[in-house]
Symmetry: C2
Subunit: 665 residues, 2 copies
């Protein structure tokens, strides 16, 4: 019995805490299992009844006749722990726990959960939840959930599976999809993910012959590495993984603590993670439900330029509402010939002409995708409206259809034909944008990076040490020296900058710990003693040559608690922060990937020949970004965060003039 | 007989070109009028039949028995002109023209349209269209349209009216709204707006007792002044006006031509226009359909700070999907007490508790609006799910409801209760954001601005003239002089900048027409002759004192061909352009309004005390913006566009160092 079988095809299910009152939530699993045709045995466990809704009930799992493949636990309080013990004793391989009061209920609950899972491991019992609403295998007729949406008469079967951190969303997706003719295979509410998590489920679904597309509703990511490897496995199996991710998580606070973190924000780090894992990210909830046919059987387009979509419509206004939105994503619309970018067959369109025009677009090398829009006719003549699309000679090119009126029958007919149809212009554009942003999972450079022998591996490095580390990684750093009391000698060509040297000052300029443009020794002797008086923490002074160039850039590294090591490049000064103008990737990156990151930063346009300005050495910048990203390859990952701000970009070369490195505790 | 009566309550309608073949588009108006219970006379006009679908038909309008209040013209080609002549001869006050081939068909068609309208004016016939799909008055049972959606059995009556530049959208809104239990009063497809346009219709609807909210679907704005005054009238009548506007229009090209235009972009100018007219702008098409109950009977909130929304939900994931989106609009969520900002009554919620919690939020001074989210129960127990909301003690505070499952019955019940309900988290958030951005129409400063007597009123001003104009308006300008051949004398304190003086050079730096930081006369004599050799167009040199300050700002003015005079303030250098970081308003603006604009520009954070940087004189900047905006008050509006780039902001004061003024031809 594999985990997948126990979860999705249990031969017998024990309902621990099943109520005899049909109106109660805890009666739902039995009602739903029966209603949707579960073929296995249902074994209610109820401490005070011999019978539940007409089924023989047992006092405990110990008394129940075996073998039982999955226990669904709904009882409150300590009884959950008892039930797990009984699962272990009776050899029940999987316990799905609906009961709450664990990690969902604060630190005390989290501690209780940790104990529970540890004990379950000892007993050999795998756990889904706690706080899981259960799971559904639609083709397998397993409706093992308390979600009220399962009241629906028939569950829509299909090849899209769904893993959700919100139990409600399991019903939402099933209900909204079903109303649209979209079918599903397996749906799982993961709850607190104490044991079986999103990553492991994606891994199982990657192997599931009944699953072609995997949808995720995420509030956080609890095991980024596992999900990443599962996503790669799904990619290898030709199964697209799609994520809708809420922006909030417990990590916001941690991320905001440090400078790079405040810039990166959790969402940007997660966007980099999804991209690098080959996960398609959608912006709108409805897109998550609608997008599967657009992805199913297709591969990441990995377009090196803006996507070009051809548009065929029977309504100008309807098409424009999608095209307008596509434009905001940087997607271009292309004309068939040299005419308007929209092929409008308004009202005069015959079915044959519509199909012929579509066939042309599928065959044309001038577009990467096709958008078909149908107006009012879709409501009352669905067959007529949809047939010209269904009959077209479709190919690997993605086809998205938007219907302007309320037209559920037409939507269902398109779904039946395996065609991606969208209810709103916004979700239609969102899906196309998500499709064209979809990338093959990125292979990160392997290898090891050395750690300078004289540097500590814990605590904080001072700036001189930070510059040393950057230099060892391969980043050109400013000429500098440490001036020490009592005579503060140094040999750096003027003009110089002097900085109070202390690992305790995070924002030196604001602390008055920097003197710029010192022209000679007299200047140094005039300014530096005053500075050291201001900054009591420092006794030594970092003296460095003044440097100037075409632009200042920020390069950052952070071992993100959620997604792991990330590297950032952004416009320098206040720009990265004020405009959130930076690019992020999982670290390490190759120089090529670093170049792609640099191309994403708007403010660096000034270095790319914008308005005739001199070009900066973007090759050297890419080398520096790749170098910093190799902090991820240092054995033991001692660095919590590192930042060069600014890295000065010149016509030839770059140079780091200010560095910060924070090690892990 | 008023125009409104002839349009929406015609006692008799002539259908010119009505087909006897029920399957044809031109048979639809007769079928739809009958189907939806039109009580007036229907008079088919058909050149070749005596009878149309059982109704006595006439060869021409001249033969038809009068009086006829509106003719609906569907015939092709020249017959439209003939029909208009006949309308004039028979005293038909309004002709609605479905036929196309006018302004919709290129310049030749536009010329034909101009002739048609001129003739109609002579004849005293008002024209809706051409290329109009017609109109519907739902409560009045007038379904005078070819839109196929009118096949629907019953039209949903209500108090929301709709004016659309897309004929298809008339059906889309009716069909989607109807499926949701949302009702409508009057719906008009304006087509080419050759005579009766959006503005005049909004004006009529502002007076219509059956209309409480006015929706607009816009592809362009053909008469901004008329729509602006109609929107003000609607506001005065307590009727919110809502616009969904496509980004594209013929104006893109014109706007991109000039510098300020390229910055402003048409959409930013339109956003300023909507805001200043008190028009609520929605981002998503579905929001347009769903938002009416949120606005109906309410006034613009004019919040001086971020809006605070309280959230009550039975599903954490469902609420989070809305709240996450609200955050992107800068809307805050507030807690009832000090707990989580979301009040989650998951599964344990009783109807009484839900209602009581809602009542608390309506009464609380801590929030500006309430969001209620209902999970799975909304699908199969609509009455139970919706009742706690319907029963709550609602007040002027806006209430938005989002239902997570497919729950049409619940949506309809909420609509019946006059409660704004949303089908997607995105449209729900969009509607709340639109509501909280809603402003009372702004009164623009009146008065007149003088034009310097020695300046021309046509062509282009050179930079010295531009600086003169700015000084007269009240903007401090840099100390400067014109140095003329042969000896190029000037008296400006060093260091100075020298610029080749010519009104033919738009981008001086790129043309090599600027020498900066000239330290003395020797430097001038070294650099300027070379510059004048590079720039053949110039013979004179503008010499100005070098200035520096805390930041550079761009201030621009443009007489936009669509919305009229606008004023812009943005971050200087390349920032405004690269980051599209600027604020726009219709000109003129008061200093207070200018201050509000400045607060919107992110890049000016550096002048607001960001990270301990010195503060700039934002009062002086606001004065300068208001001064430039007064170009709109110059008699005859001679200025096409004007720009100060940069205006240098100091700790005290501002100073214009570079000016461009383009006059109208």
């Amino acid at each position: 019995m594999t985990l997948a079988q126990a979860l999705f095809a249990p031969r017998a299910v024990a309902l621990v805490g099943a109520s005899g009152d049909a109106a109660k939530n805890s009666a739902r699993p039995m009602r739903f299992l029966r209603k949707h045709g579960y073929a296995g045995r249902i074994v209610p466990i109820n401490a005070s009844r011999n019978e539940v809704l007409g089924e023989r009930a047992f006092r405990s799992l110990a008394e129940a006749p075996g073998p039982i493949d999955q226990a669904f636990i709904m009882t409150p309080g300590d009884s959950v722990e008892r039930a797990i013990e009984e699962c272990g004793a009776s050899g029940v391989p999987v316990a799905t726990i609906f009961s709450d009061g664990f990690a969902d209920a604060g630190p005390e609950g989290a501690a209780r959960q940790a104990l529970l899972v540890a004990r379950a491991r000892e007993l050999g019992v795998r756990v889904l939840g706690p706080n899981s609403m259960g799971l559904v295998d639609v083709p397998g007729c397993v409706a093992l959930t308390v979600n009220a949406v399962l009241e629906m008469d028939a569950l829509p079967a299909g090849t899209t599976s769904f893993v959700s951190q919100s139990g409600t969303m399991l019903g939402t997706v099933l209900s909204r999809g079903g109303a649209r003719g979209l079918g599903f295979a397996k749906l799982v509410s993961v709850g607190n993910e104490s044991d079986i998590g999103t990553g492991e489920l994606v891994d199982l679904l990657a192997e599931d012959p009944g699953t072609k597309v995997i949808l995720l509703f995420l509030e956080t990511i609890r095991d980024a590495a596992k999900l990443a490897s599962a996503a790669r496995k799904a990619h290898a199996a030709g199964k697209p993984v799609v994520a809708y991710k809420l922006g909030r998580s417990q990590l916001g606070a941690a991320l905001a603590r440090s400078h790079t973190g405040a810039l990166a924000g959790e969402d940007a780090a997660l966007a980099a993670y999804f991209r690098d894992c080959g996960i398609v990210r959608v912006d709108m909830l409805e897109t998550l439900i609608e997008i599967a046919p657009l992805l199913s059987g297709r591969m990441p387009p990995n377009l090196p330029r803006a996507a070009r979509v051809a548009v065929l419509t029977t309504t100008g206004g309807g098409a424009a509402s999608v095209v307008d939105r596509l434009g905001t994503f940087g997607i271009e619309t292309v004309a068939r010939d040299s005419e308007s970018p929209i092929v409008d067959l308004t009202m005069t369109a015959t079915a044959e002409r519509y199909t012929a025009a579509l066939d042309d677009l599928f065959a044309s090398p001038r577009c990467d995708g096709v958008l078909a829009v149908v107006g009012s006719s879709a409501q009352f003549h669905p067959q007529l409206a949809v047939e010209p699309i269904v009959r077209s000679k479709r190919n690997a090119k993605p086809l998205a259809v938007f219907l302007t009126p309320h037209a559920e029958r037409s939507l269902a007919l398109l779904a039946e034909g395996g065609i991606a149809a969208f209810r709103t212009p916004e979700s239609c554009a969102d899906a196309l944008a998500a499709f064209f942003s979809w990338r093959t999972p990125r292979a990160r450079p392997a290898g090891a990076a050395e750690w300078p022998r004289d540097l500590p591996r814990r605590g904080r490095l001072d700036e001189a040490q930070a510059l040393e580390l950057f230099a060892v990684l391969g980043v050109p750093v400013v000429e500098h020296a440490i001036a020490r009391p009592p005579d503060f000698k140094y040999a750096v060509p003027y003009p110089v900058a002097a900085k109070a040297l202390s690992s305790d000052i995070l924002h030196k300029t604001e602390a008055g710990a920097v003197c710029l443009g010192i022209a000679d020794r007299a200047g140094f002797d005039r300014e530096v003693p005053a500075m050291l008086k201001r900054v009591a923490a420092a006794r030594e002074v970092l003296v460095q040559k003044m440097e100037s160039g075409l632009a200042e850039v920020i390069v950052g590294y952070r071992d993100d608690p959620v997604v792991g090591p990330i590297v950032l490049v952004g416009a320098g000064g206040t720009l990265a922060e004020i405009y959130r103008d930076y690019a992020l990737r999982l670290a390490p990156v190759s120089e090529e990937e670093a170049a792609a990151m640099i191309a994403e930063v708007k403010g660096l346009a000034t270095l790319r020949g914008y308005r005739g300005l001199p070009r900066g050495d973007l090759g050297a910048l890419a080398k520096a970004v790749a170098a910093i990203s190799r902090l991820a390859l240092v054995h033991g990952s001692p660095v919590a965060e590192a930042e060069i701000n600014p890295l000065i970009v010149k016509r030839e070369g770059v140079i780091a003039v200010d560095g910060l490195v924070v090690l892990k505790e």
